[in-house]
């Protein structure tokens, strides 16, 4: 039983060489600007100013951080070739670590505690998969079980009877520093309130980036930049990535594959733990049972959505964090997006028929687009239960329709034993 399982599916996917256009910074800037413009139009047309209000964006950003950190953990691990679905368990360990160290010794100790507890989870996964060759999925499942057990057990052990705490939660933890650039924030708030096309939206975005910014959020951004630099611009990173692409080749070139995999998995636990720490320290200021609510899996989804790259992961985490936050603010926001989807689907349908001459796919897109439009006009809000499934549905759609464009590390999930290339 391997994570890779049968290869049957891989053969049926048509092998079209992907046209590779280098997407530089300039192209991305254009994409972002275009997205903002579209959002702006949507806001005005559907008269839902909250879809990109700074309030919504700030909430979205806060929701995105733990997802991004979990995804970052997944990225480090999978780039070294080890599948890690135990991110949820490592995150849970992190929440407890933050809660325990946080209330005892202050929030910064909580940060350290979260990272350490997450790394312990990563250590178990590393020993099991890299040293003992246990199937990576099985190990991930076991860590989810153990992580949950450990956190709950330790919560009962240490928080019961403590004032403010209880068997399922820790006492209050002091806050970590928050940053707001007051004058800028106010000015942008004014601009936002004007409701002008594109300018106000841009103001909202910028305001969200300079208001109530937790120090952990800033740390997360730094970690992302650091990850990009470390993995793509240093020999260490090259070696680590080679372990995930072709461990056999790496070994023949003198890379100690086992050591890199081990390190990557332990680090991945640390990141996931930090994500849990964010939940406990910044989002809630306490540890609470069930805090993670599946964010470990959403992080995994964001990593896949982001094509195993830090930039894409951030985009995915941003998107999923946004939908996570937005559902709490009322279904009207997500509802507005239905119109956008309907328009996109209709456009795709027309393009498929006219340009690509794919009749079946074009009609399918048109029909689905029509249904979505009907949904939009026929209802006021999207049920909150369904908006919660957005990250998962989006990821499934990406996997189903764009699997050729996804570049999973070539040797991801394979059990590697030293010297097995020969």
């Amino acid at each position: 039983m391997s994570a890779a399982g049968l290869e049957v599916g891989a053969k049926t996917v048509a092998d079209r060489p992907a046209k590779r256009r280098r997407f530089g910074a300039r192209e991305w800037l254009i994409v972002v600007a275009a997205a903002l413009a579209i959002l702006s139009i949507l806001r005005i047309v559907t008269d839902t100013p909250d879809i990109d209000s700074s309030g919504a964006l700030i909430a979205g950003l806060a929701a995105a951080v733990p997802i991004a950190l979990a995804g970052l953990g997944g990225l480090w691990s999978e780039r070294a070739g080890v599948v890690n679905i135990g991110l949820e368990g490592m995150m849970i360990l992190g929440t407890w670590g933050a809660g325990f160290c946080g209330y005892q010794w202050g929030p910064w100790a909580g940060v350290a505690g979260a990272i350490v507890m997450g790394m312990i989870g990563g250590l178990i996964h590393a020993v099991a998969t890299v040293i003992f060759g246990v199937d990576q999925i099985v190990s991930g499942v076991a860590i989810n079980i153990i992580g949950l057990g450990v956190a709950k057990y330790l919560a009962v052990r240490f928080f019961t009877g403590v004032p403010g705490g209880g068997p399922t939660q820790s006492p209050q933890i002091d806050s970590l520093p928050n940053f707001t650039v007051a004058p800028l924030s106010d000015a942008l708030g004014n601009l936002e309130g004007k409701g002008w096309f594109f300018i106000s939206d841009l103001a909202a975005v910028l305001r969200a980036l300079c208001t109530n910014l937790s120090v952990l959020t800033i740390l997360t951004v730094l970690l992302f930049v650091g990850t990009w630099w470390l993995l793509w611009r240093t020999p260490f990173g090259l070696r680590l990535r080679s372990c995930g692409e072709s461990p056999v080749a790496a070994e023949t070139l003198g890379v100690n594959v086992i050591r890199y995999k081990f390190l990557a998995v332990v680090l991945s636990g640390g990141f996931a733990g930090l994500g849990g720490g964010f939940l406990a320290l910044v989002a809630a200021h306490i540890y609470r049972d069930g805090q993670t609510a599946g964010r470990g899996y959403i992080g995994l989804a964001a990593m896949i959505f982001g094509n195993w790259r830090p930039g894409g992961l951030l985009a995915g985490a941003g998107l999923f964090g946004y939908t996570d936050a937005v559902q709490l603010r009322g279904g009207g926001n997500v509802h507005a997006f239905l119109l956008l989807f309907a328009v996109i689907l209709v456009a795709v349908g027309v393009w498929q028929i006219v340009r690509n001459r794919r009749l079946v796919q074009g009609i399918l897109a048109l029909v689905v687009g029509g249904l979505v439009a009907w949904w939009f006009f026929g209802s006021d809000a999207v049920p909150p239960e369904l908006t919660g499934t957005t990250p998962y549905v989006v990821t499934l759609l990406v996997l189903a329709f764009a699997s050729q464009r996804l570049r999973m590390p070539a040797a991801d999930g394979k059990i590697y034993r030293k010297g097995e290339g020969h």
Binding site: R20, P235, S242, S246, T252
Partner: protein, 544 residues
């Protein structure tokens, strides 16, 4: 068998000197007493058939395996190679037959991996790569993604990899296996460049024509040991082929011909691939009659495996038909084809013929799980009892050496596994038997009994398609021999009159380019005229 030391110019230590190298694996002696000397600044070829022990030898030279006995000297010094790093430090660089490249990384990243200390991973490294590429005319773009590159380009990157690390002795393992003729010429030009710069090249191959063209010295290996080291100017392809396969010709069977005129298997104009580059199968047609053994001779990778896959229904051809008797089975599924009476002895029995972790009796069922005696209740249930009993019968009749029918197939030796497979296939009274490399990896005793079974099949009126690179086997068993080279059938031979050298030459394309007096035997040209193929081969050529 080494050239005596007195022959070398004094003061210039040979680049590599091997003496008494021996390596054993469980049940197999891969290398026995290998000894030869490689002079510096030369291209030295190592030739031998598949399975002669060449690749084990190269693994030893590269530090991937340790020899059980013997010494290796590099530039006159004895070296102990415990790992590839040791080999690299000794100045040895290896270009594997199966490229060790990470598809999703760029050329630059692949080259500097593991050697980041030399020139970093940025611009300095890029410049160095360009410098090497230019001086040896490799034409490599450091920022290209390996996944986008064709086979020839990938090989040049592998060469650049070793040059980047300062290799002075290059080992190339079957480098032309995946190249078109034009790329081969380019490679040889590059080797000449390398030689001019004082590098030494060890060139492993079984393609005699190429070896004669490019090598300064040739060492022949057969059955794990060195036969001789010769000078290419003093020998021709025939003599080389004789050294490679041994001059004991098998006596062709003196049995009466059992060939009837009833056609059981007919293959018409099979074409496979050919989108970009050379098609894997290029207009293949042949017929096999009841009671006839058609042997297809050829070095691995020339399309034989694909012919088998098409006939068995495991692969769809681009065009062409397959007929079983009068029935067109071109569109049939594997199961239908097997049920219709096509027996299959696969080339890779571990991957296609057996369930290694299942007991023997379950393996007896494999491939015939819809036929008696394996089934009962109308095909719904497996009849374990009958299957077990029949397995006992097969074990006895086919002399499968095993303590019981309950051991796993993986614990039997290769020969016994193969005997089981033959017994299984024959027990269903096939009309056609496809036997692909039936005695590969099989001990001598089992080999001769397998041959007896094939002869028995022939007597019983089966049509047998025998794919092999073992000339003894082909000559001894076949009624007709066809040679396949690069997807085309290039010549027909009569086993009664053909010689091993003829066949060897045709299989390797030596043909009439080899030099002194070749009387070709009956049949059309032994080698197809070299057509220069301007388009690069596509990735389907590269077979593991």
């Amino acid at each position: 068998m080494t050239q005596p030391a007195a022959q070398q110019p004094t003061g210039a230590a040979p680049a590599v000197e091997l003496e008494g190298i021996t390596k054993r694996f469980p049940g197999v002696v891969a290398n026995k007493d290998i000894a030869f000397t490689v002079k510096r600044g030369t291209v030295h070829a190592i030739v031998g058939e598949n399975g002669a022990g060449k690749s084990t030898l190269m693994k030893i030279l590269y530090g991937v395996q340790r020899p059980d006995e013997g010494t290796i000297k590099v530039n006159g010094q004895v070296v102990e190679l415990h790992s590839p790093s040791d080999a690299i430090n000794a100045g040895i660089g290896m270009v594997f037959q199966h490229f060790m490249l990470a598809d999703n990384l760029t050329v630059l990243e692949n080259v500097v991996l593991g050697a980041e200390k030399l020139h970093g991973i940025g611009d300095a490294a890029r410049q160095e790569i360009v410098k090497i590429s230019d001086s040896y005319k490799l034409g490599v773009d450091p920022d290209a993604l390996v996944a986008d590159l064709g086979v020839g380009a990938r090989q040049r990157i592998e060469i650049l990899k070793v040059l980047y690390r300062g290799a002075k002795i290059l080992i190339l393992d079957e480098p032309t296996a995946v190249l078109v003729p034009q790329e081969v010429d380019e490679l040889f030009d590059q080797l000449a460049e390398l030689k001019d710069e004082g590098l030494t090249v060890l060139f492993i191959s079984h393609k005699l024509d190429e070896v004669l063209k490019v090598a300064d010295a040739i060492t022949v290996i057969r059955r794990g040991t060195t036969i001789d080291t010769v000078d290419p100017t003093s020998v021709n392809a025939r003599q080389l082929a004789e050294l490679m396969v041994g001059s004991e010709l098998p006596s062709p069977t003196t049995e009466e011909s059992t060939v009837t005129d009833r056609v059981l298997l007919r293959v018409e104009r099979l074409v496979l691939g050919g989108g970009t580059g050379r098609p894997v199968l290029d207009d293949i047609s042949f017929t096999i009659h009841a009671g006839e053994v058609l042997g297809i001779a050829g070095v691995e990778g020339n399309g034989q495996a694909e012919i088998v896959e098409v006939i068995m229904g495991m692969r769809e051809p681009t065009s062409g038909e397959v007929y079983l008797g009068d029935q067109d089975i071109s569109d049939w599924h594997v199961r239908q084809i097997r049920e219709a009476g096509v027996g299959y002895i696969p080339e890779d029995r571990h991957r296609h013929g057996l369930l290694l972790e299942a007991p023997l009796w379950e393996n007896r069922i494999l491939g015939h799980q819809t036929e008696e005696p394996n089934i009962e209740a109308g095909g719904f249930l497996i009849d374990a009892k009958d299957a077990k009993a029949d397995t006992e019968r097969i074990v006895k009749e086919y002399d499968v050496r095993t303590p019981s029918i309950f051991v796993t197939a993986g614990s039997l030796s290769g020969g016994n596994q193969q005997k089981l497979i033959i017994g299984r296939e024959m027990s269903h009274h096939p009309k056609v038997l496809i036997a692909a490399h039936p005695t590969r990896g099989v001990d001598v005793g089992a080999q001769s009994s397998i041959w007896d079974h094939i002869r028995a099949a022939r007597r019983e009126g089966l049509a047998v398609l025998l794919i092999s690179a073992d000339l003894e086997e082909l000559i001894g068993l076949s009624d007709t021999i066809q040679v396949i080279l690069r997807g085309k059938l290039t010549g027909e031979f009569d086993p009664d009159t053909v010689t091993a050298e003829d066949l060897g030459a045709a299989m390797t394309g030596a043909g009439d380019k080899s030099g002194a007096g070749d009387e070709t035997d009956a049949g059309p040209a032994t080698a197809s005229p070299r057509h220069t193929d301007p388009t690069p081969t596509d990735a389907t050529e590269e077979r593991s």
